[in-house]
């Protein structure tokens, strides 16, 4: 995984609550067996009509937002299905950070596995960012847990230490866990009666 670096970008405002992962990547695109190339399917049913033509009033189709790396949205983003394809699509489209007042648990986890930073801010802070989203340059500094905007206006954000470290260093989580192999084996020995499969 690529280590997470400072992002400097404006945001794309997606002004909706409870955006579920069925909207982020509709199911017809879950049949692929690879991890890449999902960007073109991001928000597919909102972005394209049934003939595949862009729907002009959807934010991602507005040329002024092209190339932005931060997605700004509302409460409970990423609810529903556990499909990691949602995170793959967000990353592949070019987003490196998603800002919202709250996220659904599984989606939140999936972001960190793919080098995407989900940032939770207060409703007031998110409202402020929506008001200024069109033109405001934003710097996301994970090391210092800060969002820096013109002014300068600085918003601090909270993030779990171990998740932050993994993002910043782009660590291979499985490799880390395998270092605990003897503890896992010891656990298995101690609990073999409960773990065993009976057939």
């Amino acid at each position: 995984m690529e280590p997470f670096r400072i992002i400097k970008s404006k945001a794309i405002p997606l002004d909706m609550v409870n955006v579920d992962t069925d909207q982020i990547v509709p199911k017809q695109f879950l049949k692929l067996v690879q991890k890449t190339g999902y960007g073109r399917y991001l928000f597919y049913d909102w972005r394209f009509d049934k003939n595949g033509k862009p729907i002009s009033n959807f934010v991602l189709n507005d040329p002024k937002y092209a190339g932005r790396q931060i997605l700004l949205t509302r409460d409970n983003f990423g609810s529903g299905s556990s499909r990691e394809h949602a995170a793959w699509a967000i990353l592949d489209y070019g987003f490196r950070a998603v800002i919202a007042p709250s996220f659904a648990d599984i989606f939140y986890n999936n972001c960190f596995k793919n080098g995407i930073l989900p940032i939770m801010l207060s409703h007031k802070e998110v409202d402020f960012m929506f008001l200024n989203a069109d033109d405001m340059e934003i710097e996301v500094d994970l090391s210092n847990q800060q969002i820096i905007m013109a002014g300068p206006k600085i918003i601090n954000f909270e993030i779990d230490e171990s998740r932050k470290k993994k993002l910043l260093e782009g660590l291979d989580e499985i490799g880390i866990t395998l270092q605990f192999d003897s503890q896992i084996a010891e656990y298995e020995k101690r609990n073999s009666k409960f773990i065993a499969s009976h057939n």
Binding site: K31, L32, V33, D45, D105, I106, I184, N191, N199
Partner: protein, 474 residues
Amino acid sequence: MPKTLLEKIWDSHVIPTKKENNGGPFLLYIDRHLIHEVTSPQAFDGLRLNSRKVRRPDLTFATMDHNVPTIGRSFPLVDQTSSVQIQTLAQNCREFGITLFDIKNPNQGIVHVIGPELGITLPGMTIVCGDSHTSTHGAFGTFAFGIGTSEVEHVLATQCLWLDKPKTFAINFTGRRKHLHAITAKDMILSVIRNIGTSGGAGTVIEYKGETITELSMEQRMTICNMSIEAGARAGLIAPDEITFNYIRGRTYAPQNEEFEKMVDFWRENLKSDYHASFDKSITVNINDLAPQVSWGTNPSMVIDVTSSVPYPEEFAKGNENERKSALHALRYMGIEPGTPITNIPIDRVFIGSCTNSRLEDLLEASIVIKGRKVSAKVRAMVVPGSQQVKTQAEKIGLDKVFKDAGFEWRESGCSMCLGMNSDILASGERCASTSNRNFEGRQGRGGRTHLVSPVMAAASAIEGHFVDVREWL
């Protein structure tokens, strides 16, 4: 110190590392890993890329459910991309030595139906699957939750996961259902989500408690735990009891005879929240006046009583401007006017199936409603049993005939129209009474309109061609 059921399962699965001293995350051992064709191929690729193997293939079970056709199952499948995904799973299971219940196997079915059915799911375990409805298995007093594909790879390689300790949320059900057949577990859980919202359970594991819960069958308990994720919870839990143990006894992959009874003694003694255990959050829900529930919008909190009318956005939003906009958007998508009595809304399709409501009891209850009646000429109705075992058992007692005589299609098992990854989908604008769990936009097909209901409500709606209060029928 008194502990909740979740805390007991949690504590018995934490593997000592040094991190737990700093408050986490914790390394948790995973007792059972269920996999399916859609969220696993990239995980196996990751293993190969790093020359890793599956640590415990004996604790890993696979099936094909999400995109399998429910008719025309001979290879090559009509849908070539599905075919590739299905064959990829078979190849991966062969390569890594994992038990697979493939499309021809008499144990094939929806992963959350077959886990319990085969006795793979046992009380006190930790179970994961790359599917959010893994919460279903919580009905057995199991900490079971959905994960993404990276975590699937992590569990395959290590049989463990790093997790933050979830908060605990008790939902105490009180009261009695006035109509034991017309008011179902589906109505109970829909009313909960309606009350607490789609993120009301975020960051928590919900334990469903109270006498009302202990009276429910395992099928009903699974329906409730299944939809915990629709309230945003990590998992749902119900303490196991004699009903649980009787359900499991004798199932293929469960311990047998004396060994099983010893496990039961242990489960009975240990798997319940202590009397004084404190939960981070708790609510009480009285179901004395519970009516059949019908969803009207595009998330599972947008639900009303069958006796009510579609709400106005202001009424739904209770002062929250973002929720008001979302309700407005939902009404537009659903093509319905606020103020319309829900029973006036005509339907085009009926789907009885999904990991929420496709078990034998669900089909049996629905069959009572339709026996001797005919599906409305305007409606196309379909039953998709949750597993091949459910299908076989149902056929043994003649349910297939009851459904077919009434005009239902009787299909092979799988997820089918719950998420429409196979050819069982709604056409744009079609309206469906569905026993599934998600009424998201496009979930059952682009432009399709889903209304979530119980199996008996779906059955009665199929007959009448619109929603009806099934209490008048049973």
